[in-house]
Amino acid sequence: MSKLRVGITTLIGLFASFSAFAEAGIDERINLAIKPFADAVAGAVFSSFPVAGVQIPFVLVWLIVAATIFTFYFKFINLRAFKHGFELVRGDYHDPKAAGEVTHFQALATALSGTVGLGNIAGVAVAVSLGGPGATFWMILAGFLGMSSKFTECTLGVKYRNELPDGTVSGGPMYYLTKGLAEKGANFARLGKVLAVMFAIFCVGGSFGGGNMFQANQSFSQLVNVTGGDASWLADKGWLFGLVIAALVGLVIMGGIKGIARVTSKIVPFMAVIYVLAGLAIILMNFTLVPSAFGSIIDGAFTAEGIGGGVIGVLFQGFKRAAFSNEAGVGSAAIAHSAVQTSRPVTEGFVALYEPFVDTIVVCTITALVIIITGTWDPSVDPSSGVQLTSKAFESAFGWFPYVLTIAVLLFAFSTMISWSYYGLKSWTFLFGENKVTDASYKILFLFFVVVGSSMQLGSVIDFSDAMIFAMAFPNLLGCYFLLPMVKRELDEYWADYKSGKLVKTRLS
């Protein structure tokens, strides 16, 4: 109970210090204070070079090139293991002796609830408003290639995870970068350590940015939107919203009130299903418009009239939002997936193929189609409106949908925050050691950024969030290149067993 007391005391402290400044304009002040820093970080990570007159950030090329190389290196694993991945999720190869352990389904569902969320709702709206319908095409392609990145990093995540003496498991890029590269010799071991530290630093940043501020910011924006827009009583009270969310998150991560997180983890999948069904309903209601919508997606992908930067600009928007949404190559999913129970690490790689597939190819495409079909997309729309654009698109078909969307957005944001607070904490303790002080200091910082994120304007939040999350891909993918032969060996051995029928197929009850 003392943990709970510490948590509550901290929250009251946070609340008190903020309400002391609780006057009009606090949102602006926070925004002004953080913006220059956020802009500087974003500028560094997104340092770009010109391609056909458009500035293309190097990190984006880095992600796509890696995803393409992995796709070819593993001979289109994203296609050839697709069916087997489904069999694994369905439990066809489940060992009854392992009943009660984390199944493939559970690992995938948990990883998905960390990624499916605002990236799919707000991110797609941003991509379509900045890049036009054509951005959808590149988003789908990026999702398809990203499946191979996920396969690689999640296989490694399981292969090199740590099983601690107390029975808990710890995994992710920090571990495969150190342990995996150490297998290749002393020089690689040193490189591995450097990469792991870099990854951990960026992951902490990402957990404050995309895993936190972006989520808080967009859910607040949607809440203001449904309560009356600029006229809403809440309009200038982002800090207040932030405090409430921080309090709820704090109860879970500091107060040890796991019930809230547990309930959320059960509601989120249903919200996702409701979202997808509503999207499909709108698409079916307008099925005559579907061919022309796909037409504009294909045309837009290669022509791009009136879009800044032409085709390259469209491609850039699609790739960027896909990467932000499914996090393939970023390494975050490798943490979530590594908890699975399996003796063959590569099986979780096959299962992880479904993450970009569901997240980007299914959910993002549905969002994009709804926005395009309902004609909500308009080049003149303010791109920073993010989630509001999606909300408007759904509202044009179902007047009540913005309310449902608000609940969905709040829940998605909340579950993503809880997941990322865990990723960030694991990275933080990897850097600073595991003890009560480091643990508490990370959590307090995390809660602080919830409030900051709610108070800032979307532009700076999105830049900072993108920057930190994408930065994780530098050390992660560099390490993955060196570790490719290890994944290949696992894959070849397993695939031979699978093809020769050596694996025992069971029906899971």
């Binding site: 439990g91 489940h94 009854p96 009943a99 009660g100 352990e101 984390v102 199944t103 389904f105 559970q106 690992a107 569902a109 948990t110 609830s113 960390g114 099983e163 107390d166 029975g167 808990t168 498991v169 710890s170 796991k258 997180a261 547990r262 959320t264 983890s265 059960k266 989120v268 999948p269 943490i335 979530a336 908890a339 699975v340 129970q341 809880i418 997941s419 865990y422 990723y423 899971l508 009850s509």
Partner: protein, 144 residues
């Protein structure tokens, strides 16, 4: 063919009549007796990241508790009475997992106690006994 009995119990006290019935039969036919306890668990449930990382540890704890609090008291008592008895604990859907355990161990008769569930509960969730009767490959005895 020698007979093998398996009794499914929820807790160490609540299967008394079913155990007594099975013991009686086991004595008469010199049968091997399994005492089984299933920890309700679904491979398709949703969980948080943290829960997943602690799952293995929790599972060990659950198995340990099931043995020490449910199975062992019964098994020890029956062993002292001179019966050939063994405890089984597994995670899963109660009816399906009892069926699996029966198949694995060559059980010839499954014995279950019947709990006084409300009509509504039975209507919504069904009962372990009636599910098991559908699935089992051996006779199922439900002791009221």
């Amino acid at each position: 063919m020698s007979s093998v009995l398996m009794v499914g119990i929820d807790c160490s006290e609540c299967g008394e009549r079913a155990i007594a019935y099975a013991v009686d039969h086991a004595r008469r036919s010199n049968a091997k007796l399994f005492i089984a306890h299933i920890i309700e668990w679904s491979p398709f449930s949703f969980s948080t990241v943290e829960e997943n990382f602690e799952r293995h540890k929790r599972r060990e704890e659950e198995l340990k508790r099931a043995h020490s609090e449910v199975i062992d008291p019964v098994v020890n008592r029956l062993e002292a009475e001179g019966l050939d008895v063994e405890g089984l604990v597994r995670h899963g859907n109660v009816a399906d997992t009892l069926h699996e355990l029966a198949v694995e161990n060559g059980v010839t008769n499954i014995v279950l106690g019947r709990q006084g569930k409300s009509k509504l509960k039975k209507h919504v969730f069904g009962s372990v006994g009636s599910h098991l009767v559908q699935a089992a490959e051996c006779p199922v005895t439900v002791v009221p």
